[in-house]
Every structure is written in C-alpha cells, then in structure tokens.
Symmetry: C3
Subunit: 315 residues, 3 copies
C-alpha cells in the first residue's frame, strides 16, 4: 500500500507513492514502515526514527528527521488505529498451502490446522485444539485439548501447552475518538515461544501490536496467567498461577513471580528478581537478585517489617 | 405451570390455577410471575410488587399486596430455589428449527450451532465454537475458536469475542438447606451484549438468574475477566485483565476498571469513574468522574498520600 | 520397572530387582513404591516410611529404616523428577477398550472420549468436551462445551462442570538443575470429584503429583478459580470467583473463600472458616468457624478495626 493511499484513507493529502509494508514504533520502524508520535515524551525517539513516514501533529512536524515524510494530522494515534486495519491479515485464510505435519506427530480428531502452518515431528496435537494459519510448531511439543493458537504464532521444541490456553489473542489496544468511540488498533504482531516452555491451563498470552510478544527458552507459566501484548518473558522465568502482566513489560532471565502478583505496563524487571505472591510492580526494578513483596512494592524484608509496624496500630 | 402445581411441588396448599410463566424479583415481576421475600429489608418492594404470587413467611404474609397471592412457607428463598428447576429450559434442545446463518458468514469446521439460533451476515464463527440454542448474533461479528455461548444469549453487530471466552454460564446461586445441602437456583435469564463490543480471551460472563446480564454498546473487556450474574456494564466501559465483578453490580457509562480490580455485588458505580489496578470497590460510588484506588478504596490521591504515611511507619 | 533399572537410569548402582510400581511421599508410600528425602525437616517421616526404597543423600542415608533400600545420590529431588518420567502414562492411549456410555446419556458432536473411560447414565456431554482416557463419570452429570477432563480423573453423580473448565491439568512441579534447567516432575496422580459438585466456567483444577487432588461432595466452585495439585476441598466448601489455592492445601468441610482470595501451599484450613474477598492465607487456620480478612490475614473484626487505624494516618 502506498503512502498516498494511506493518507487518502485518513483524509489527508500526500502525493508520495512509496510502498509501506507495515506499522511500527518510532525506534523499531524500518525504511518501509509508518510510525507515529502522539506523546512529546518520545520526541527524541522521533529524531532517531528510520521510518518512511511519521503521523505527527503540526506542532511536532518540524522534528521529523529529513529522511522521513511527515503526515501531519490532528490525532496521530487515532489515525494510526484507523490505518492499522489496512494491514490486518485475514482472520482466517481460505487460500494457502495445506499444513505440513512432521513424522511421528499425532493429530487427534476435531483439530483444525490452518493454511501454511508447519508442525514438526513427534508432536501431539490433542482434540479440539485450534492451530491458526501460518503457525510454526517445533518438534516433540504437546498441545493439549481446546488450546487455541492464533495465526502467525510460533512455538518451539519440547513445549507443553495445557488445555484451554490461548496463544496470540489480540492485545488490548484502541484509540479514543472525541465522541467516545474506541477504534481498534489491529494487533498485527504475533507471539513467539522458545524451546522447553511449559504453559498451564486457561492462560492467555496476547499477540504483539507490532513485532512479537516473546516467551524465551525454559520459561514455566502456571494456570490462568495473563500476559499482555509485547511483553518479553526472559529465559527460565517462572510465573505462578493468576499472575497478570500489562503490555510491553520485560522480565529478564530467571524472574520469579508468585501467585496473583502483577506488573504494570512498560516496565523492566532485572534478572533473578523474585516477586512474592500478590506483589504489585509499578516501577522498573533495575537491581538483580532481590526479593520484593506487597502493593505498593517493598523489598521483601522491609515489607515484613512494615506489616509488623502496621499491626502495631491495633495496640 | 399453575400456581397450584407449583405449590404442590413444594408441599404447600394453594388451589389457585393461575398460569405462572416464570420467576422474578419483587419489583421486576409482572402479573404472570412468582416472586419471594426472604429479607425484611425489601418489605417496601413487597408492597409494590405486581407479581401474581409471593413466597413469603407467615410473619410477612400480611404485607403481600391485595393483587397478589401469598404462598406462605418457612423458607421462601429455599423454596424459590426448588421451584426454579421447574422453569429451567433443556440444557440442549432436540427439537426446534435449524439455525439460520446470514449471507457472507463463514462457519468453520467443528462448530456447533443450536436450534432456533440466528446468526447475521458477514460473521466469522471459528472452529470449536459452541453457539447454544436460541442464540441471536448480529452482523459482522467474529467468534474466535473454542468460545462457548450458552443458550438464549444475544450478541450484537461488529463484536469480537476472543478464544476460550464463555458467555452465559450459570451465575453462582444456591440456597442452603438446614442440613447443609446447596439447592441450585436455576439461572433462567441470559446475557445480552450490544454492538461494537470486544471481549478478550478466557473471560467469563454469567447469565442472569432472572432477566439479563447486560453488556452495553462499545464496551471493551480484556482477558480472564469475571462478570457475575445480573451485572450491567454501561456503554463504553473498559475492564482490564483479571477484573472480577460480583453479581448484580451496575457500572454506568464509561467506567474504567484497572487490572485485577474488583467490585462486590449489588453496587452501582457512577459514570466516568476510574478504579485503579487492584482497587476493590465495596460501596456504591455515586459521584461521577472520580478516580479511586486501593482496598479498602480511597480517592486515588488520598490513597497515594496514605501509602506515604504507611511507609513512614518504617522510619 | 525394577529398582535396578531405575537406579541405572539416574546413574547410580543398585542390584536389587524389586519391582517398583510408582512414586510417592515418605508417609504415603507403600512397599512397592519409591520415595525421596531432600529436606531434613521431614526426617521423622523418613523413619516411618513403608516405601521399598528412598532417594536420599549420603548424609541422611543412615536414617533410612531397615525395611527400605537407600538409593544414595547428591540431588534426591532432582533424581525423583527424572524418574517421574519413567512412570508417566501415555498422553493419549491408542490401545484400550472403547468407552462405555450409560443409558440416557447424550453425547453431542465433536466430543472426544478416550479409551477405557466409563460415563454413567443420564449425563449430558456437550460439544467440544474432551474426556481423556480412563476417566470415570457418574450418573446425571452435565459436562458443558469445551471442558477438558484429563486422563484418569473421576467425577461423581449429579455434577455440573461449566464451559471451558479444565480438570486434571499438570500441577506446577519441577526440580532445578545446577545449570538452571527445570526438570519436569510428571504429575502421575489424578483429580477425584465427589457427588453434587458444581464448578464454574474456565476454572482449572490440577491433577496430583502422587495420589489425588480431591473435591469432596457438595462443593461449589465459581469461575476462573485455580486449585493447585494435591489440594483437598472439603465437603460443602464454597470457592468464589478467581480464588487461587497453591498446592497441597487442605480445606476442611464448609470453608468459604471469597472472591480473589487465596491460600499458600501446604496449609490446612479448619472447618466452617470464612475468608473474606481478597483475603490471603499464609498460615494454617486451626480454630473452626472464624472469619478472616486481609493480606496479611487478620480476624475479620480486627481487620476492619485495623483499616480504621490505618485511615487515621491521613488525619
């Protein structure tokens, strides 16, 4: 789709016929992608973008670097949302190659496998599982019944995905119009899961808005966990039941999150951090190998001490 | 079913042969419905009921209005529970019309659609979805894989229901017998979902005990959210992941509930209220457009100030 | 499998050809089972074990009772994990008897029922349900759509299991290697559910590592509840939505846990205990019939008083 066509779609004028292949953030865009700046906080990222074009307000248009085209508009984020639909793939493909299934892989009845999908050898795909279009699954992986893997996701070798879990559902993203409508930001990224990952039952892992939600090798995720779009769960991390992670939060290697703990979005948690059950992380944790508890969060020992002080209030 | 038959079923005497069509609350009952009074707190509602008959203790029988028949019994709520079974429809209908599916709607393999159901045009019903009997779905709605829609529910136009979500499961309702058994209150209501609603993955929305659990137009619901029976989620409200709402709670328009926040039952939350992540609402919120946090709940700024005071205890 | 073969599998020497039928805890093992001691805290259990053999460090080997064989190794728990794979049944059986289904039971389309399973009379098994191998279901039980019951589990009479719920997924168990790998402890137990149990939608109940996760008669469980492996939920207990129970916790009869409340693992909660919504139990509760709230947990009245004291900090 050309820039001109995109501009026309949102009712602004641009004669450039450059071909745009997708949307991305300011810093991750390549020279064929379109990006946006809504929040002035990211203006230094704007200066460094390699994007072909930027949706930007008049106020910030002068900061668009010389290699990029400014698409000047009143509501860049809302326009990004509108444009995201243009790049959304079909919910279900009709055309495409029949799925490839490797030797020794058992596919039980009532399984759907989409177009262009590839499943390795010695896997078990159990009854009622849905494997969408263009999904790649490695070798020796077990998909339990009634699991749903949305299109374009990838799962590595030696993984176990328990029943009812959903991989690749849309992240929770939309832009507001002035009259109170929400315009969906199509989640055109995916989920990529490494090797030797076990995921419990009825867990949900949302696909990325751009690029990938990433679950690295060796991760262990329990039941009823929610992982928002664009999170990255580092190697060997452990997420106990009912944990919730908001979008774009990064767990470095070997982070442990106790049951019902949670993290706000856009945070980074240092390697070997432990969050106690019910802990609520609202700021990034930069120092590795420490234990935290509570909401608001304290170092675990401080939290225990604080609870003693609080209970003294009853005396 | 006649009043006489119903009375006989619970072992009390009533010769009236009036036809009863269902059960309802004191205030919502019409002249063909049966209601009950257990808790004296609702005695003014009793005086205003339009019901055909009321299950009521001897003590309160004199307050039954003249147009209604008093069915005097020791345990009105328990008897209501027993009677609810008489009005429960079949779990699955054998008879009935084949479902109607509109033009341009794709129904993938391994989908079940029940009797008398009607699906509009340009929908996508993905593999493994279950659409129960007498379900109505509008146009241009996407039902992702392994979604379950229980019988009698309705979903509007332009909705997206993500994988594994359950619409219309039974509300959590039962009456206790004196010897410690729980008698199910059959949940004979439904769920009605408006237009332009998106619901995440593995969320659960319970059907009403009477009437409808209501999700209004434009609502956005994230993953793993629980909505109890008879809740009403007002237009444009946003429920982030892992929110839990107990039964009969009403959110007015444009309420935002952060991740893992919750509300107790039978509350009303004013329009444009924001509840921060983890907030726990235990009383109705009458003033609109305010922000709240914590459990117990405080105004957000007060809660932040309070956390400062609490952490000072460590000094 | 003989002790000799097992020992060889983990690279230690043992010439005994005694047949071992499975793994178990120190106290629950019978004379044909293998057990382990990692934590010195359980050394008195070691002295009382009836197991055929014990994985044990050199340091504790002398405490192994005379009837049992000591399998001396550096990392007993890690070796147990490795050995657990030897006793894991097939994920799906190819051989075995066709399932038996009793009179009056309706099995809808797209249902899978595994080998050697037995379903009683007058049940309804709805579309998309997965009933694994060797599952036993009683009479008059309803399994709603897209429920998954893993192999070897049992469900009693008059039960209702709502849509999307998962019974018998693997407990969250693994041992660490020194180089940061997690070795799965195969969960070779099951889940047993009594009579007259109702379980809500998208709930997860993990199978036991050894023996059974137990849900006793008359229990009521709401939506999105997590029950860890080897829990026991006593007769008539009520678990409201989004409750989380860590592994091996025992609820005695008629315990009520409010919405989003939780308990840590290996605890026991006395009969007729009530935990308020959001309560977090971290120690066993020995006195019955009391009400508790908060996290950390206080007696409910004390918790309310404490919240008053805390809010006074704002004055």
């Amino acid at each position: 789709m050309t820039l001109q066509e995109i501009a026309e779609f949102i009712g602004i004028d641009c004669q450039d016929e450059k071909e745009i292949t997708g949307l991305n953030t300011l810093l991750d865009s390549n020279e064929n992608q379109l990006t946006f700046l809504e929040n002035k906080k990211y203006i230094s990222d704007l200066k460094n973008t390699k994007a072909a074009a930027v949706l930007v307000t008049r106020e910030n248009a002068s900061e668009v670097p010389s290699g990029a085209i400014a698409l000047v508009c009143d509501e860049p984020y809302l326009n990004l949302a509108k444009i995201s639909k243009l790049f959304a793939p079909n919910v279900v493909e009709i055309d495409g190659e029949k799925p490839l299934v490797g030797g020794g892989t058992k596919v039980m009845p009532n399984v759907y496998i989409g177009k262009d999908s590839v499943i390795g050898s010695d896997c078990t795909i159990m009854a009622g599982a849905y494997i969408g279009d263009n999904v790649k699954i490695g070798n020796n992986t077990i998909i339990y019944p009634n699991v749903t893997v949305y299109r374009d996701c990838t799962i590595g070798n030696d993984c176990i995905i328990h029943a009812g879990t959903v991989i690749g559902s849309d992240g929770f993203g939309f832009a507001n119009t002035k009259d109170g409508k929400y315009i969906k930001i199509y989640q055109n990224g995916n989920v990529t899961i490494g090797n030797d990952v076990e995921i419990g039952a009825n867990t949900t892992i949302d696909r990325a808005v751009f690029n990938s939600t990433i679950i690295e090798n060796g991760v262990r995720i329990d039941n009823l966990v929610h992982i928002g779009h664009n999170c990255k769960i580092g190697r060997g991390s452990i997420l106990v039941a009912q944990v919730g992670l908001s979008g774009s939060t990064v767990l470095n290697a070997y982070v442990v999150m106790g049951g019902q703990s949670a993290a706000a979005g856009h945070l980074e948690i240092a390697a070997f951090t432990t969050i106690a059950a019910r802990g609520g992380v609202t700021k990034s944790i930069t120092e590795p190998k420490k234990s935290w508890a509570g909401f608001p969060l304290f170092e675990h020992r401080q939290w225990l001490k604080l609870q003693g002080k609080i209970s003294n209030l009853l005396k």
